[in-house]
Symmetry: C2
Subunit: 297 residues, 2 copies
């Protein structure tokens, strides 16, 4: 693949494996599209698909999957723990290689237009594609969920970006472009959740910390320790090591140490290369020097 | 490419660009072979080619290039600063992905057999392919160089592994399998070369240091500092961070600090992933979590 755009569509079906298989089918065996992973959660009643591809091939596959989901999933009967507002709940596009954020924004709008024209599925544009700053945050956009959407969109500030009415069974979809997320968790040698919460507050953007870091403290009860659970929302600007070292420094005042970390799901290679560059103090390193990068060119 | 074997053949022509182009030609535009880089050095009168490929395609391309080099290069007229013994001086094969060391050893022997059958170019097997421990080290094998080889191979311990006489103009070639080398240099904030040499002695295998580390101290005269210049000969067993941290510890006794490092040439992604795992203390990380690794599968 010359170009790599990642897409992580979430569909509101996590229990019926036959339906899930049909929804995922458009991502299989196509030139220019590669299905990397999909995992369904029965409690959430949701499947998260990870796919990469070139722009046109990816667009066609995503639109096809949205069409299938809108036929197979009836949101009036959907139950699950995860907030949701549509059969296809959210479609983020992420630039990975030879693709710009602007291109992903354009792609998100094309998909939004196509799924309304073809399937009458309306959408909100969110994140970098948002038409207003109040629509950037997915949680804001989705507030009210499927059941509250028909009412919510009557307010002028919540008119959908594409479409004017909620699809009766498929609801509404959030579509947008964003940077890759890295789920990065740091473990501390204490069972005091209050300490974890204080440190999380100190490192996260919301309460005065790092610009591209969301964080909260959670208890790992089986291990008897706590964790700073983070979403790094732009690792190119807030690198992993900076959050890690800041947690170390904040933990010192409580006499607490870092005992490990974990990365959940996929991480772009560049995030790890940047980590090595920092800790080894590598001067003038070019990512072209990484053998696999060169091979992928 | 399903399988990736790297090959870094060195040819004894670094000045005539037309000849270099002909020698490199077999690595271009072939399915299952990808030319990553080649760089010629006029002082060394040598070109170093970096290519990756699948076993059969790579074998055919390498053999073809050896044939062309043996026609174009006349070692009786060769001058250059770098030690050399053949038109094709050395051919290392390196397992990168879905290839074992054993497979690379077998491949090296097949190539050795073919180039003798086709072009009457004899060879020594070296590194992991060596038929005796005295032949593992390339410097030992090449000692005497082209001019001394006809005499050297008269000794029973230096009978070539393939062939019985030196090719009159193409000399003899060293062929073998080895781990990828990482050229990793660490800079110190002193101009005292003696300190660099002491630290190099402490970290390198030869004089009691790390098993897969070669090191020497060199002066970076323009910058007024010194450097520990290392070849990491198996980064999977002696990782980069271990050498780096050991240099830091050894430097402390001289009141000296590390001020940076550099990686010369290509480095396998796994070497950098391992670095991130160490410094961030990442638990249970799978290389399958690296997006680009997943895409390459």
């Amino acid at each position: 693949m010359h170009q790599i755009i990642q897409c992580v569509p979430n569909f509101s079906e996590g229990r019926d494996l036959e339906k899930i298989d049909k929804i995922v089918a458009p991502f299989r065996g196509k030139a220019g599209v590669k299905l990397l992973d999909y995992s369904n959660d029965e409690d959430h009643n949701r499947v998260v698909v990870t796919v990469v591809g070139e722009r046109e091939a990816l667009k066609a596959a995503v639109v096809e999957a949205v069409g299938i989901a809108s036929q197979l999933i009836d949101m009036t009967k959907h139950e699950g723990q995860h907030p949701r507002m549509g059969a296809t709940d959210v479609i983020p596009f992420i630039p990975i290689k030879n693709a710009t954020m602007e291109e992903c924004v354009a792609l998100s709008k094309e998909v939004a237009s196509l799924i309304y024209d073809k399937f009458a599925v309306p959408s909100f544009l969110y994140e970098k594609s948002a038409s207003a700053s109040t629509r950037e945050n997915l949680a804001n956009v989705r507030k009210g969920q499927f059941e509250g959407m028909a009412e919510k969109i009557k307010a002028p500030e919540w008119t959908p970006d594409f479409g004017t009415t909620i699809h009766p069974t498929a609801g509404i979809t959030a579509i947008g472009a964003r940077m890759p997320l890295v789920a990065f968790n740091v473990n501390l040698n204490t069972n005091d959740l209050e300490i974890a919460n204080k440190i999380a507050k100190n490192v996260r953007h919301l309460s005065g910390g790092l610009r591209y870091c969301k964080a909260l403290g959670i208890a790992l009860e089986e291990r008897g320790i706590v964790q700073i659970s983070m979403n790094m929302t732009d690792f190119t600007k807030t690198p992993l090591y900076r959050a890690f070292e800041l947690i170390r420094i904040e933990a010192q005042r409580y006499g607490v140490s870092i005992v490990g970390s974990e990365i959940i799901g996929l991480v772009p290679m560049d995030a790890l290369i940047a980590t090595s560059e920092y800790y080894l103090g590598i001067e003038e390193f070019s990512y072209e020097q990484v053998l696999e990068k060169r091979i992928m060119e």
